[in-house]
């Protein structure tokens, strides 16, 4: 059903354009989203198309423009807040955690916060320790939020609409290394907000990943296939809630799991998934779950050290061979 290909960036821009065109309550705000066109050029052209009222450049005030998004959602709008990167989202974490995530429950169900917050995440561009974080696990830890990480062009094109249709706050992680990636834009009308996708079927080992690690994991699966190892690749897509059913069905069948996660290992999403696998399908396992995560260091600037710090294809292949006893 592949109709065409485009880049992840273009797919996301199409999604934004459609959202703005379809619903007058939708608006985009964030740093440099308008005149500059977005720091990753995702929103380029939208200011000209939709005007200053609906594509709003904000001051460098992450906490306040994120809180203003929450307030605007309470006031009946459907804001899309763009925080340049997850690194800066820490300045808005209070608003996200203490307001967006709590208001519904704390008010006894009186109000909802239909807010979408987009942010770039991840390393790989030699941006050093303060611009290379992968902190999806922090947001996935918080009840009241939904967290998605579209990893394909088709998901980038359609998951935003699903996020906007959701009555609760949704955090969208866009990995910086995906923006330039070309891929098929499947001719589908929509994709759901939740639920993992099996990106590659296989019988020998399940590789579980999300976001920017998906292309590396698929490459690793290709290499393993050359060795006669058929890896199944699961793209989590939604990091909160996690799709336990898809994970367990696959691992229950392959009996082996490797989790690939660009977050630091300790307290990572990979740790959570590993725990769930052990809790739910322990007796189906032929080997302990393995994790391929980032080294526990601030991400360094030079290319060779950055590469060494991040999950890479070789490491994924080695981990898969390890759980198969072919290390």
């Amino acid at each position: 059903m592949s109709a065409a290909t485009c880049t992840y960036r273009e797919a996301m821009r199409q999604a934004l354009r459609q959202a703005l065109a379809d619903d007058p309550r939708v608006f985009l705000m964030g740093e440099d989203v308008g005149r500059y066109g977005g720091c990753y050029a995702v929103s380029k052209g939208l200011l000209e198309e939709f005007g200053e009222d609906r594509v709003r450049d904000t001051p460098l005030s992450e906490s306040t423009f994120t809180g203003a998004g929450i307030g605007a959602a309470l006031g009946g709008l459907r804001p899309i807040v763009e925080i340049m990167t997850v690194n800066f989202s820490l300045l808005a974490l209070d608003q996200i955690l203490n307001n967006a995530a709590t208001l519904r429950h704390m008010s006894g169900g009186q109000v909802s916060v239909p807010l979408v917050i987009r942010m770039a995440t991840g390393a790989g561009r030699q941006l050093a320790a303060q611009h290379s974080h992968s902190l999806e696990n922090i947001y996935a830890h918080i009840p009241g939020l939904k967290v998605i990480a579209p990893a394909t062009v088709t998901d980038a094109r359609h998951m935003l609409a699903a996020a906007l249709a959701d009555p609760d706050p949704v955090i969208v992680f866009e990995h910086v290394m995906l923006y330039n990636a070309d891929g098929p834009l499947d001719a589908v009308e929509s994709v759901p907000l939740g639920g993992a996708a099996v990106r590659r079927p296989g019988r020998d080992v399940t590789l579980i990943t999300y976001g920017g690690s998906l292309p590396k994991t698929l490459t690793a699966a290709e290499q393993l296939a050359g060795d006669g190892i058929e890896a199944e690749v699961i793209d989590l897509r939604c990091l909160r809630p996690l799709d336990d059913a898809t994970i367990m069905a696959s691992v229950g069948r392959t009996r082996r799991a490797v989790i690939v996660d660009e977050g630091w290992r300790s307290g990572s999403l990979a740790a959570e998934i590993s725990a769930r696998i052990v809790e739910q399908v322990f007796y189906d396992l032929d080997a302990p779950p393995a994790r391929v995560c980032s080294a526990e260091v601030p991400i360094p600037y030079p290319k060779h050290l950055e590469d060494a710090a991040l999950p890479q294809v070789d490491g994924i292949v080695a981990a898969a061979r390890g759980v198969l006893g072919r290390g």
Partner: protein
């Protein structure tokens, strides 16, 4: 400018303040009786601010308040029984008992908390005002916050953004002189909060927050400014809390003579005296009102006592909107 209230309004204003005072005193009692737990921040002494401003708002205007917000909820019209039941943690409470003292919500009167992170309500107010502006609604969004918030980044970010986008937001600084135990002069180089607003391009004023008529007049000017499309406004009200910061505070940081000096300017007494001298209140009006208010508070306590606990199987309801109700 707000004209002097007529006799009926004066009566209503005194009633608002007496209701708050009696309610807060009852809360302190119920706290001692361990029926109210957690943090409890009382509004005694600051009544003229909520009573001076909130009655001037339209029903469709929005209010964002702090964790010292019982008075705002009561003046806004949230049922006193529902507020007390909230303190008791009962599901008949205005937030289903889940929020407690610091998180009173009432969607019907557009009361958006009850926010317990200092300055956290200012960005929400900016957003509520933005929603009104973008939807061409003539509403005003009012944010109440303490002077301690002026030290937080969100105060500055929010004033800037509200002024930049010329939003219909009214920021009311309830300057009660102490951020918990830290006197304003010990934390701010510039202690005139309303002057800080000027540097962001907001219109602003300061007023004696113990003088209800002065607050009311200043608030009307501020509301007219905001509703008239002239952008945001900051009103600083100088006030004093008569009680401790919360129920865990032995008040070692402030001198008894300072407390006595402010207590001598009790906003309820001041207003009663002035209204009587203007012929707006009968000499026995307060006594009659007090009896009425005491009965309402007793009924609110009884309502809370008769409240029911939310079943534990509902614990996870409303974490998300689509959780089955």
């Amino acid at each position: 400018m707000a004209p002097l209230p007529d006799a009926g309004t004066a009566h209503a204003l005194l009633r608002h303040m007496l209701r708050i005072r009696a309610f807060e005193d009852a809360c302190a009692e119920q706290y001692s009786a361990t029926r109210i737990r957690g943090f409890l921040h009382l509004y005694n002494g600051e009544e003229a601010i909520a009573a001076g401003i909130i009655p001037l708002l339209d029903a469709a205007d929005a209010i964002v308040a702090t964790y010292r917000e019982h008075g705002h909820a009561l003046v806004r019209g949230v049922d006193m029984g529902a507020v007390m039941a909230e303190m008791f943690g009962m599901q008949e409470g205005c937030s289903r008992g889940r929020g407690g003292s610091m998180h009173l919500f009432d969607a019907a009167t557009r009361l958006y908390g009850g926010n317990a992170i200092v300055a956290g309500g200012l960005p929400l107010t900016v957003g509520l005002a933005l929603a009104d502006a973008m939807q061409q609604r003539p509403q005003v969004s009012v944010c109440f916050f303490g002077e301690g918030a002026a030290a937080e980044g969100e105060f500055h970010e929010s004033l800037n953004l509200a002024a930049l986008w010329k939003l219909p937001a009214l920021f009311v600084c309830e300057n009660n002189q102490y951020a918990m135990g830290t006197a304003l002069a010990r934390s701010e180089a510039e202690t005139d909060i309303h002057l800080k607003a000027r540097s962001y391009g907001l219109a602003s004023a300061a007023v004696d927050g113990m003088d209800l008529l002065a607050v009311r007049e200043a608030a009307q000017t501020a509301i007219d400014h905001v509703r008239g499309g002239h952008g945001p406004y900051l009103l600083e009200c100088h006030t004093f809390r008569f009680r401790a910061h919360s129920m865990f505070d032995s008040q070692l940081y402030r001198d008894k003579t300072e407390v006595a000096r402010w207590r001598a300017r009790d906003p309820i007494d001041l207003f009663e005296r002035e209204a009587r001298s203007l012929g707006l209140l009968a000499d026995d009006a307060r006594t009659a009102l007090q009896a009425e208010v005491d009965a309402e508070v007793a009924a609110a306590v009884a309502f809370a006592e008769a409240g029911t606990l939310e079943p534990v199987d509902r614990l996870t309801h409303d974490v998300y909107t689509d959780t089955p109700a």
